[in-house]
Symmetry: D3
Subunit: 157 residues, 6 copies
């Protein structure tokens, strides 16, 4: 079985050396859902109307969070993102969050996409917690990635 | 129904004024789980033995992330935390993450505990993603909080 | 004539000691304007309609910037803000920005309000610079402050 | 008329994809002025003499601020700057601030130069605010830029 | 012998709970030295004359670094500093650095003073490294602290 | 004698232009020691056993600190590190810290390695300060560097 690559042979954490890896275009898409109550969804959906900043606030937080990934996740490399996009969709009792990040670099942007989802989701959580402290951020996961030695990976349903 | 408190009457985002709220001791406990495969759990559990830095890395990231909450979540207030504790437990195919944050202040620390869980969980995700890109961070949620006008809240199972 | 308080008797920069000052409620309101062309104003005003995130993006950036003041302005004290509010209004060829910040602390929040205006204004600048690279951020200034030993100050017109 | 490039077709904010743009040398020069009173200018000019750290403090803040642009302006890309230079000049009742930033990258450094001007200007403001709370940071604007598809742009007087 | 207080009974890192400690005035003074060559000292001392920004740059970096301590040292509490002062003195082949930090809070500012010394020293190192890559930052240590349950502590020579 | 490269001809601080320098692989190794008492070393060495997070905490802080160098040292360029490694070794009364940083870029990573040593050392200091407030971080220095115009440099003993 493969070892955990972020540990050296003594089990000590390190930032893995990516200096010898090829510079390629890389993308990653991650998603998650904030599960709440239908009446809270109705409050947030008012944001589709010309009323409220809820989704815009979470979108900006997700973009800013994705850019700050290497500052938050200790063993992540610093990667300048060439684009970040945050989308939302509504279920009956949940808000879906999808983030796509891109770079041209020596390592992938999975963590940037995942961090964007988590921070956007927590920002939604923050804005609804007074009406629903029981909301749950769930299913934060990588959906698809391209670029790098391993090439295309997509989640099997 | 109550409105979303982070929006003014025009629906615009703002940092709510907490200047008139009482300074009280406040705690919040949040949890989540990183779901992966049993063989990956075995790799990480080796960290219980004197081998590896996996859990320590995630723990430090969670503590640092909790302290940076107001920098990540746009409408969160800056709260000096009086303590942060990050614990892990193992299921067959998942790692449980529990964070407890405390402060003495004018607003609660729910978001600090939740952010700690998310960042610790993403850090675990980062360390196992080479062996399991399909891992999922799930059930990130508030479990319990005390302090403030509303007093004790605990999740109903 | 009064000396510059941020310098010691040798002219060296320091963070002034506020440890002996009274803890009082303090507010500051600052404003500024981004001057551009009427056709660009029309593009941004579309944001009043249910269309675009321009003002929400600048508002969130202004709030986040105000919270990060002590990290940006070297001799500013770290002040937990109890509220921040960012408002916009439109002139024929300019967008007005007004930020109000509040705290309960030992020193004032003028710089927090001013930093909020500057970062919100630069964010607007960023979003319109492809259509108007000649836009100008101007009249960034304190309008009003309360609290502290000197009490109420308001700009004379 | 051109649309605002930072918005997608639904008006939602995003970090524009620059992954397909050419890597070129890019420069930007921006300027601004802090308007105060002649007696305050005299206090600050003492810094030309071997006395005070006023201008050095603002210079360092401007350089550090320029490097932090992508952390402050939500839709800005992360750009490693190859140089930053901050200059000051004195008028009768104002201090001029000029910042030149350079990079080799896929997008321009206008916002880095402008952010450097704003943070240097706010730092000056902070240092003189006890003697002149009415000071105004004004005329923060791009003067010149080179590199990229559009090539050289210079402000028309 | 006393245990390490930053570890729980299982040896796991945590942010110690200071919520029950008294709020007192606290100060800490730390110092260190950058050892280099006499000819480099001569270059830097030119900064005493109206020539150069070397010491001012290191001073501002030290102040900013002290304010960022809890963001750098994982188990440090967030403490708003009421003042920070950075002083330099010259030996034949070294530059002495002394930082005094103050707060009113529930835990001490030793780490803030020490971090200020280290960042100011590294900044000097950065500025002279082209002429003396062999310079050494040494003797970074706490000299004196007051406040808190243990009261006054001073280094025995 | 060579001038200080971080100053312009007027003695003003600037970020030196590295835009014309070659992009090469660069490494730097720096080291330092935290001097304490033998009984404290014994407490920390327990971390070699499956007991405590002391070294892991310092290691993560050192890696994160190295990545944040350009945010801490005002005139440092932003360099994406391709790897960072932090090692510890024990003497009778001191803990040795060694950090190796690598990049592919236009300027060296000496400051990144040195900052990693200083932050790891300060984190150890923080964890032992309750039992040994007199501990001293010493001998923080560059040991070796490769890459760039000057090529290989190694410390002469």
């Amino acid at each position: 079985m493969s070892e955990l690559s972020h540990l050296d042979s003594d089990g000590r954490a390190r930032m893995v050396d990516v200096g010898g890896k090829a510079v390629t275009h890389r993308t990653a898409t991650a998603s998650g859902r904030l599960v709440t109550r239908p009446d809270v969804i109705a409050l947030v959906r008012a944001d589709d109307l010309p009323k409220a900043d809820v989704l815009a606030t979470a979108r900006i937080a997700g973009i800013a969070g994705a850019k700050r990934t290497s500052d938050l996740i200790p063993l992540c490399h610093q990667l300048p993102l060439s684009s970040v996009k945050v989308d939302f969709d509504f279920g009956e009792d949940s808000i879906g969050i999808t983030v796509t990040a891109r770079t041209t670099g020596q390592t992938g942007v999975e963590m940037e996409a995942l961090t964007g989802v988590a921070i956007a989701g927590l920002t939604l959580h923050d804005m609804i917690k007074a009406v629903d402290p029981a909301a749950v951020l769930t299913d934060v996961r990588l959906d698809d990635k391209t670029g790098g030695k391993r090439g295309h990976w997509t989640r099997e349903e």
